[in-house]
């Protein structure tokens, strides 16, 4: 069995999870990554996606995060999400509302670079929508 380490999932509004875990899958910007114990010091940004946490007790729980970053230390891992929800709380409506907000933002953006970023974000959101809520 892999070493257990501390995992924290925090959003600006609250601390969602602080537990001993054995494995965490993070939707990093450069691709999904699995964090195990004794991971090298890493800092990465994350894109909208699902964080899968395997608790030390063997249970698995999933959270949807909308952007943010992760701070990984050999002794633990902290995900600072811009906003995060347990997967079970996510409904088609909440996602749709976010997609619409992102569309409005992307439409309003004037700066080219900024616009590309927002469009990318929008794409990721739409992908996420398809992935976790199959039609």
């Amino acid at each position: 069995m892999a070493d257990a380490f501390n995992f924290e999932l925090v959003s600006p509004e609250r601390l969602l999870l602080s537990e001993k875990v054995t494995e965490v899958v993070i939707p990093a910007t450069l691709g999904e990554m699995t964090v195990l114990g004794n991971h090298a010091l890493t800092m990465t940004t994350i894109r909208p996606g699902v964080v899968t946490v395997k608790l030390a007790s063997g249970q698995e729980s999933k959270y949807v995060v909308f952007g943010g970053f992760a701070d990984i230390l050999p002794t633990g891992c902290t995900v600072l999400a811009e906003s995060a929800l347990p997967l079970s709380d996510v409904t088609r409506e909440t996602l749709q509302a976010r997609i619409e907000a992102a569309q409005a933002d992307a439409g309003a953006a004037t700066d080219h670079e900024h616009k590309t970023k927002l469009e990318q974000y929008l794409n990721e959101l739409t992908n996420l929508n398809g992935a976790i809520l199959p039609a």
Binding site: E13, L30, L41, T42, M43, T44, F69, D71
Partner: protein, 292 residues
Amino acid sequence: MPSLKDLKNRIASVKATQKITKAMKMVAAAKLRRAQEAAEAARPYAERMNKVLASLSAANAGNAEAPLLLSGTGKDQVHLLVVATGERGLAGGFNSSIIRLAREHALKLLAQGKTVKILTVGRKGNDILRRTFKENIVDYVTFREVKQLSFANADDVARRVLELYSKGEFDVATLFYARFQSVIAQVATAQQIIPAKFDDAEAANGSAALYEYEPSEEEILEDLLPRNVAVQIFRALLENNASFYGAQMSAMDNATRNAGEMINKLTLSYNRQRQAQITKELIEIISGAEAL
């Protein structure tokens, strides 16, 4: 000398006022607890953010190409004051202490020949500052319709600030709010948010160099700095909220106590007068009977 009837009316009215202040105190106490919980729940995120940024910025200290949000524009000619106050009054010195601090700051800057721009958050601050600094106010945000402050609200304010900054409209931004110390003590505070300042000295002990960054250090920094502004504003808003209810609670507690004293005094003089009147009537009856 007020008549008996007048006194009776006054007592009734003071009692009604006391009931209202008492109810407001209860409501404020309940809301204070919620606001305090919210402020505490937001703390871990802000602390992490601060730690990460402190180490990142220490690593980037000498870098000439560091993002503007970190290094500043190199000038401090134009100042933006973000003044966060409450939406309502009846909270003792809460609003006025924040406004006083902001005003002193603004006057000091003006005396130094700097340009001052003000962004007010909350109706009260806007109303009062508009009187003296009408032409300095560039934007106004109100959360009058907002029941529960969320990060999105703070993000909205942060976006306005960042937009102004990216247009080069100001060089230094300072945030004014009341830090919540306890129910009876709220401290009006000024905090510089742009360029970012970190007081966390221990984070700069070189551990930053060992990190692996994905995608790259610069990109992460560029992503984090605007977010940090939003987080700082969010934290200030939550602290402000808690302070507001704290101030309101103690103000209403005082008001209730004062009303109680007032009622005692009025009741005393009411009883004295009633007694005097009875005595007077008795004397009249007795002297009338004697005259017969």
